[in-house]
Every structure is written in structure tokens, then in C-alpha cells.
Amino acid sequence: MNSNNLMLTIIGLLLNLIDVLAIILPVLLAVAFMTIIERKQLAAHQRRVGPNTVGYYGLLQPFADALKLILKETVIPSQSNKVLFYLAPISTLVFSLLGWGVIPFGQGLALSDFSLGVLYTFALSSLGVYGVLLAGWSANSKYAFLGSLRSTAAMISYELILSSAILIIILLTGSLNFTTIIESQESVYFIFPLLPVFIFYFISILAETSRTPFDLQEAESELVAGFFTEHSSVPFVFFFLGEYSSIVLFSCLSAIFFLGGYNFPEVFLNESFINLQAIVLGLKTCIFCFFFVWFRATLPRLRYDQLISLCWLNLLPVAVAFIILVPSILVAFDISPY
């Protein structure tokens, strides 16, 4: 009897592991392809060809890059704090991957359909700051330290705007659960009634993921490569994966919050083996990934004071105004979800 229980526990754990791998592996693959998509798209914006040698159409370029980085020697500064130096990239990658645990890829298709999913995701994105801070501090380098300080200030400032935008969506749907948020967009995607909110939401996720025009911690002319200046080889790969994973994650979250997630008109009856809802979510995610790269190709980098004043003096008042306006509309027209 005891051995049976043990067997059942082991099988349960293995099934959980398979569930996690079924999410993590496609995500890591998507992250790898996000890098090649970015390079190809940037090339198209600049009328170049882009990487086209490794594999068909350059599709194997990310794997060649990864192999090169893994085979390189890991150089650690002699005066650095070794434990934190390794902990920083690991925590960045782990925190950005943990966010995928509550994303629904279809009806009931989530690792955990957690009732406080939105809160969990934003707690994790806040924890991502620690990786940046630890990396800058532990490397014992001026450039890395300055880069991490800049990044931390920007990420903490823009988190406020991001949570304000999400708060408006929570007020509209009356739930912190991703599936409920998706299901409430059956009649209309939130991007249409909440277009101004979407605009400042997207600006804040650009800053949150430290992308152009807010990539001040990586201002090459001032800071070499920012907070991961001293990280090479595998630790660098971890930072790279963490950064691109959070780009894909935030694109996916944008699709869920503003484009109805896996919902699509007429794609509700599916008798085939193909999960059309996950494909719909993937396509919507691709739209936002495209936006990320498009902004990188278009906009110049802001100055640091411009970055901070844009957040505190421009976006925050607008966010607060909408936090008052949206619930007022719900109460005035008696359409509050509570």
C-alpha cells in the first residue's frame, strides 16, 4: 500500500514535470527565435538582408549564437562577489520564466489557473529588478554599477504606470484571474475602449523590459554594455534569455489584457487535434513582439532626465486621471462588474 502511494506520488511529480517542460521548452524556443526575428526585422527596417547564412533563411542563427556563447570562457572579475555574480543571471532568468506559469494558452490550458494570477505576474516582474541590481553590484565595476542603478530607477518608476494600467483592467473585469479577463473581452477587446490606457501601458512595458527608447542601462557610448558588462559566456546567455523571455512574456500579457488573449471570433468550435486558441494567442503575441522591434528601429534613446520626467510628470497624471474616469463611467452607467 505504501509502495503504491509512493509510486502515485512519483507519477504525479513526473506529470507535473512534463507539464512544466511542455511550457518551458516552447517558451525557450520562442525566445531563441525572437532574437532572429528581431535581427531580421531590424534589417528590414534598415533595408539590409540580416543574418541569412546559418540554416535556411538564417533560421539556425540563434542556435549558432548560443553554441558560441556556451563554448566561450567564463571570465569573472577577481574582486567580484562570486555568489551574487552567478545568482544575478540565474534569478533574472528564473523570475522571467516563472511568469509563464499562470498564462492560459486556451480554455483551462494553464499550468495554474490562479485566482490572483495578475498579482503573481506583477510580483515576479518586480522581483526581476533584483537580478539587475545584484549583477551591477556584484561585478565591482563602475559601468555595471551605474547601469544597474539607472535600470533599477527606471524599472521601479515605470512599474507604477504599468500597475496603474492593469488596475484599470482589473476595475473593468472585477477579477485578477487571467481566464476571467480573457472571457470578459468576448464582446469587445479592451484595446478599443481603453486605447489611451493601452498607449501608456505599452510605453511602460517598453521601459520595464529596458527596451529602446528606454535602454539607458545599455547606453553603449556611456556604459559599455550596462549592468552585465562583466558577465560573459553562460551568465551572459542567462541574462540574454531572461531579457527576451520577458519581452515575449509581456507581449503575451498585452495580448491577454488588450486583445482578448486566446479568444477570437468564430474560433470556439475545434474538433481537430490542433489547439487553435494557442495559435491565436501566439499570433497576437507576435503583433506585440513586432511592435517592440519596430520601436527599437524607429526611436532614438531618451536622456535619463527625460526618461524619469516622462514617467513622473507626464504618464503618472494621465494614469491617475484614467483610474478616476474608468470606474466613474462604470458607476454612472451602472455597468460595474461587482
Partner: protein, 78 residues
Amino acid sequence: MASFAGPFRQTYRYLQRQAHENTVIFYSCVIGAIGPVMVVTIPPIRERFFGYRPAEPVPTSYPLPQRPRRPVQGYDDE
């Protein structure tokens, strides 16, 4: 017209200046102020001109019967 606008001229000029100098703050205040104004004005307008009646509140418990409680008998332990 000038006499009517007279007392508010300075206020109007101040607001005009703020809209020009601190555009974001000014229009944020405007957008934010629209909300409470809507809460106060829209429900009476809907009721008076559009015949809107608020829906009955959803019951959250069973209603109590409109009669005195009947004593329960026949279930006592012997």
C-alpha cells in the same frame, strides 16, 4: 457679454495659461474631473429621459418568510 465674463476673466486666462504651460497636468485634471461629474449627472438624465430603472439587486440570501416562525416539533431526542 464683457460684463458677464468679467468676474471669470482672470480664472479663464489662468486656465488658458495652464493648458498651454502644463498641458499634461491640465488635461489630466480635466479627464479626472469628468468622472465624478458623470457619476452625479448621468443617472438622473438616464432615469428622466431614457426611462432607465436600476435592476433589482441580486438576492444574496434566502428571503425570510412574512409570518411568525413555526416551532419545530417531532425531531427531539427521546
